[in-house]
Amino acid sequence: MKITPIIGLEVHVELNTTQKMFCSCSASHFHVAPNTHTCPVCLALPGALPVPNKTACLSCIKIGLALNCSITKTAIFERKNYFYPDLPKGYQITQLQTPFAVNGHIKIDGHTIRINRAHMEEDTGKSQHQPLDGQNVTLIDYNRSGVPLVEIVSEPDIDSSTLAKNYITQIQQIVRYLGVSDADIEKGSMRCEPTINLKIEKDGKIYHTPLVEIKNVASLTGAQNAIDYEIKRQSEEFNKTGQVKNSTNKTTRGFSADKGITFLQRLKEGSADYRYFPEPDIPPIAFSKSEIDQLKNTLPELPDQKTTRYQKDYDLSDYDSTRLCSDFSFTQSFEKVMGQSTDKDFAKFVANIFLGSLSAYLNESGQEIDSGKINPDYFSSVFTAQTDNKISFTVAKDILLQSYQTGQDPLKIAQDGGLMQVSDTGKLEDMVDKVLQDNPNAKADYQRNSNIIGFLVGQVMKLSAGSANPQLVRLILEKKLK
């Protein structure tokens, strides 16, 4: 029995426009006093009409272009009718038949993932279920009502949870590179809904399990875990029931991050009827070819292009440049440090710090890099000190990290901590002697196998807390071991 997961992703990206999608209210709603950013339009008062936000439409088209989509000549908005308290109009304005962007693709880890569409829509208000004066109530905050969203729909070209995660990360980076959204999954400005089923080859026959759409995925790891859980669940379910996909058995499942499981939310997704029809309040929107071409020409450098440029300009390895460029904020800080410099050794040095101690620290503490804490002068002074053998690379890594954390001058940290590289042969000889004393068989071992010297250099470095000049230590050791 061979199992191939078939995964498609719907990714919602909340745009960072200053105004909402269809009115001039502020679009900011995170940690804002409830219902303070509202007006007749986003509250859907009688007689209010939507007027589309041009910046948001252009952002949607930019996303489409970055995902190699074709841009629709004349796009139209449609009404998606459903009744819910946080949807004040009783319909959502979205795009169905003719979205701004269609038929794109992106390449990830050697896979091509086709993009069905990138369309523009509006967000709903936020329902808050909570007790109030001893009663369970639902409070609604309309600050988010009408905030612009772009929905990016992939074709079901993803076959593993890892690829799904990398796809989401890539989309996240692209919109960040474009500067159209902060795409923060934890803050809800990026949301993803995987749809998944399995292709099962068994006894020479092919089966497809019923489609499942997963909701409430609130993190990247969550997406990966939800998909893994669902692959396991669907394959077990198939073994038990043999049930296969048909036009009526698509279901919606929620994901519980705590328990790491999905659970049934809604049966028969196929029966929902949203009665879409063209939004009569908004005329069709057409951008001329020259406007689109101009937009295309002004797109910022995207991850792939930046990676190639880093390799060319800074001579960075494929691995290092790809890692740096997979995080837009890293590239911003990296470029801040590099400034106008094209010194390849300096670039390599900076990349090693970024991808070494700094990224380890950020990962561990769950932080994003803060370019405000990156001081280009500190990087160049530490680099010079290292080139001049005043400090070791190990020390350079440590002090630059400490400097990032505290804002202190890294060379002062090195001096205060006695971490400046020791090239004073007298001091070094003392340390070498101490190590040789601790390893009485060293001389004999060295006669048999000269490679042992590496171990001894390491011991001296350890003793010096990284401050010894390793080349000098090696020379002294070689002399003493002869």
Partner: protein, 487 residues
Amino acid sequence: MIDLASLTINQIRFSLLKKEFTATDLAKAYLARIKQIDPKIKAFITITETEALLQAQAIDDKITKGQKLGNLAGSCMAVKDIYLTKDIQTTAGSQLLKDYIPQYSSTIYQRLLNQDAIILGKTNTDTFAFGASTENSGFFTTKNPWNTAMVPGGSSGGSAAAQIGDLCTFALGTDTGGSIRQPASLCGVTGLKPTYGRNSRYGITAMASSFDAPGAFASNCQDLATVLSQTAGFDPFDATSSQIEVPNYANLLNKVSLKGLKIGLPKQYFEGVEPDVKARTEESIKIFEKQGAQIIPISLPNTNLGIDVYYVLVPCEISANMARYDGLRFGQSVKDSDNLVDLYFKTRGKFMEPELKRRILIGTYFLSSGYYDAYYLQASKVRTLIKQEFQQEFKKVDLMLAPVSPTTAWPIGQKVNDPLQMYLADVLTVPINVAGLPALSLPCGLDSKGLPVGLQLIGNYFTEDKLLSVGHQFQQITDFHLKKPKL
């Protein structure tokens, strides 16, 4: 004593400046007449005496201080109750919005206030403008001032009745399928449905968004021209409002010469109309002909599909537009609900009028999965055909002339239990909304029962200047528009 029957917008402004009377005198005169006459015809849902007197006082203060007066200074308006008026109850003719006080005003109303017009009150309408007689109002039926046993037409029946009853200087209405032209015709007043997009829809409860055309009633074309010059024009709050420049219509009233004017008579619009309606229309045609107009028979074979297209597309848009009236956030709510869904169901069940429910049901059905292509999509295609057909015929003629309504006013109650019959009252006006064209309704005499007959002049897109000019010249040589009922 001010003779309200003979006042026009320009005269009022002139009289104020010459201090013949004050704005307060005028507002008081209108309010007194409303108190005397309105109980008989019931044109108003709300009379805004306080606001009217405050606004009038403000205008009088301006005059005392020698400040510049707005173009409509002192003119008193009756506003259809689907226009949102800040701090003044706006019911849309429905129990659903009884006691609803809007937080903002519709663009058109605000533009008129900015020109120092005065609001006298909010007029009756079929619920959310769904109807042709005001009998679908959630409050009461307005009576035709010519014969109070008859309907005034609708949905803007309250405004038309107020206009002919001299209860206002001019009145605001909306025309989605004939709701200005038909009551204008049935009440014997002048009314204009502008091109779709000429007047902003912002702040007017939506009926069918791609059809709704706000407009006005007045005692003549000149006043209509003055009002339209102020209301028309791009509104940043309405994406469908046109950017096309607004001329000063009142300065263009003699722009078009009747001599040589090519008037098309679409033969389908003369089929099945009452003999008196036909006779009055033909007499008017003779008048135009006498002035040197060229009468050209034309054919609009898709006209009959207009009503079908209309009654598919309009309910579809209505079904979505009515979804915001959840009974929770504004308007009336039932007090005895068990939970949210129960509240929705009970509130909408109790306060929505039958016609409102009927149209939501029809629209929901047409948009449902499996029916969309057969109804909405098909109707949209026919809509395009109808537009093209008009464009084709406008290559031959300057404007078209037809009756407004196949009948004059009918007795209250006659069609109330036959919605299809009621829908057919709009058969000659609806195709113009389907195409989005402008059309003017002009009084052209009385039938044998003494009830007014109206004719409509249909123009090509954004030719309101031409329609008003032709209408004005017609009114210079006739007195149909001066005829008033005895009240």
